[in-house]
Subunit: 394 residues, 2 copies
């Protein structure tokens, strides 16, 4: 199996690949990349370099499938490989929905999936019209290239994104505007779909974002209305099937209340790969999202997505006061014998995703406190827990 | 961390090493070895080659610790490395008890650990004397070099091991004789001990052997008398501490009934490394034996050994009618979405340990049947389940 991208997502594919006896090769951005440290075959190359990709899938022997840990491979490169007989999973026609938010929003709307009010905005005038229609404030996003809060601004005036309009006029990504959704919390549903059409979803999780970056994931989402749970999972299946996704699909959603007070969801973002909202599955589910992604793209029957414990909480480590995150492993081990630490082997930078900690158990408040405390030790700070209750605590 | 030995035990250390951010290098017997397929740094060399070991611990940078996935490194080689400042875990003085059964039996006796009646036998006459004292039949073992039923014979006549006596006279391993224990079943206790002295044990498991090879492990051991459970775990701690073990220690035991009918245990064999009786911990315990071995030899605080499920059963795949075990993964996945498959990447040979399958759940009979069925699919045969009940089913 060939994977494009040498970050932590590819790194975490290594364990299930070894267990299933799947030969893994990863195209990494540098020899020091997170995945390069733990994968035997890790040639260096850039994701848009069609020569590097062609070598990846052919050498030393033809790879069964080409897949990704990010969305940065141009569609024309993938179409070229597919035309040469390479099994590209997900294919370019599916992946474009995770690469271009205008394409994604249009398609979801056509499918009838619940989405916020939105519009592609080609000029300040169009944005001004949209703002007028949604009460004067909106979220503006670049259609391509954004992640972890980058490429997203809350605006009240079209001039707030003058730079983006200027960039768009010179070949940069187009823009879209979305209503500011008055959500009660953020949810995420992870699904996996195989080329044969089998689909499985994991339980809906609650995702707490800090400045646009996933910080804390609670599985399953506490106090979730059963109807919302069912709708959220149905929407994920609908999107996976409607877009022809193969592999893991993450659907980030807003939990909202309708005019009648009835709960519901709106789809926020999509990712077609293992996703931060699914890291809890490594320790907390029978089948992890990384194993499932392998199974799905290789068209193996999918694994059981049941949780292994009543509650699992995953806390991200975003930046650290430590020189190396691994220096904190002993302290976490001393603090909590049951905390599962995952270090990504990346150089420390402010706000960077450097690792995560997972804790499972029967008492939600304890589990969350333990996960937060362990993550704080890895961060090397004493800023205390970020989770402050809210709907999750009723 | 440097590991001697490139088999499946080293292979299964790779996942926790990546998670904990521990740099792993493995001395492998060949470039195609099980661990060599999944470990980035896997120099080829033999375990008794002190030059190869010295390079392993020094290049490209000094390794924090040297440890093992088997017992085949000569004590003098380890003492030489330790004298040069290498942290060897377990050390030569502990490891000798897993290398030489006469040393082991003598030391366990001195510690007061429960062992079968035994004697070192230097000649056919001494063996004849021992046989006369135990009713005419005994187990004879070579003190060194045996594993998986090799180097073990049940004898009624000293001439049955004439070849071994002849070999011993020419520098081969010495022999010991043990009474044939009338055990009710075989148990195993896995412990881990760190250089700082912290010790943790996992629940006692039942181990079903077929022709001297571990076939099926049930965790925890069903219907185990609580007093026996406590004694078995105490014995494991006593052995770990008494022998100065660091890392994982597997203590294989016989469950016996005393003259008064009271249950008890006798220690059969020791291994100072992750062990087949502990493979269930990867999927079935909060901390796997592989993660714990890393934590222990690196002197990190040890992890929680609690089971994740009421029952976990591990079935070995010993030989296969398939060309490659990985060819069976799709069929297992189709049969049982919750079966956890572990393929070792080894060439198929009759009786060889090629992989294992683990199933967890609340119903023991179902869990066992599922594990056996999945292993049978990987073996590619229809010989049916091997487990036929017995004390485990009451």
């Amino acid at each position: 199996m060939a994977v494009v991208g040498g970050g932590q997502l590819a790194r975490m594919m290594a364990a299930p690949a070894a267990a299933l006896g799947v030969e893994l090769r990863v195209l990494v951005e540098s020899a020091q990349a997170s995945a390069a440290q733990v994968v035997r075959q890790a040639p260096v190359g850039m994701p848009a370099d069609d020569g590097a990709l062609a070598r990846l899938v052919r050498e030393p022997s033809p790879a069964a499938v080409l897949t990704f840990e990010h969305e940065h491979v141009p569609g024309e490169v993938l179409r070229g490989l597919a035309a040469q007989g390479v099994s590209v999973q997900p294919g370019a026609d599916a992946l474009v929905h995770a690469q271009d938010k205008v394409v994604m929003r249009s398609r979801l709307e056509a499918l009838g999936a619940p989405v916020p009010r939105w519009a592609a905005v080609g000029s300040p005038t169009e944005l001004a019209d949209f703002l007028a229609g949604v009460g004067g404030r909106a979220v503006v996003k670049t259609a391509r290239g954004g992640y972890d809060g980058k490429g997203v601004r809350v605006v009240e005036d079209p001039r707030d994104v003058d730079d983006w309009f200027a960039a768009a006029a010179h070949g940069g990504p187009g823009l879209l505007a979305e209503e500011l959704v008055g959500f009660t919390r953020e949810l995420a549903v992870l699904a996996a779909r195989s080329p044969s059409g089998e689909v499985r979803t994991w339980p809906v999780v609650e995702s707490l974002q800090v400045e646009g970056v996933c910080y804390l994931v609670t599985a399953p989402a506490p106090n979730l209305d059963p109807a919302t749970e069912a709708v959220a999972r149905e929407v994920a299946v609908q999107v996976a099937e409607g877009l022809g996704v193969t592999g893991v699909l993450a659907v980030e959603m807003f939990e909202v209340r309708g005019a009648d007070g009835a709960p519901g969801v709106l789809v926020n973002e999509l990712a077609m790969r293992p996703h931060n909202s699914g890291h809890w599955t490594i320790d907390g589910a029978v089948t992890s999202q990384f194993e499932q992604h392998l199974r799905a793209v290789l068209d193996l029957p999918l694994g059981d997505t049941s949780p292994r414990a009543p509650w699992t909480v995953m806390a991200n480590v975003l930046g650290s006061a430590r020189d190396r995150l691994s220096d904190g492993v002993a302290q976490v081990a001393a603090l909590d014998a049951g905390a599962k630490v995952h270090v990504y082997g990346k150089d420390v930078r402010p706000g960077r995703k450097l690792g995560h900690v997972t804790v499972s158990g029967a008492d939600l408040e304890q589990v969350r406190a333990r996960a937060e405390a362990a993550a704080a030790v890895l961060r090397g700070d004493d800023s205390g827990p970020i989770y402050r209750g809210g709907v999750a605590d009723g």
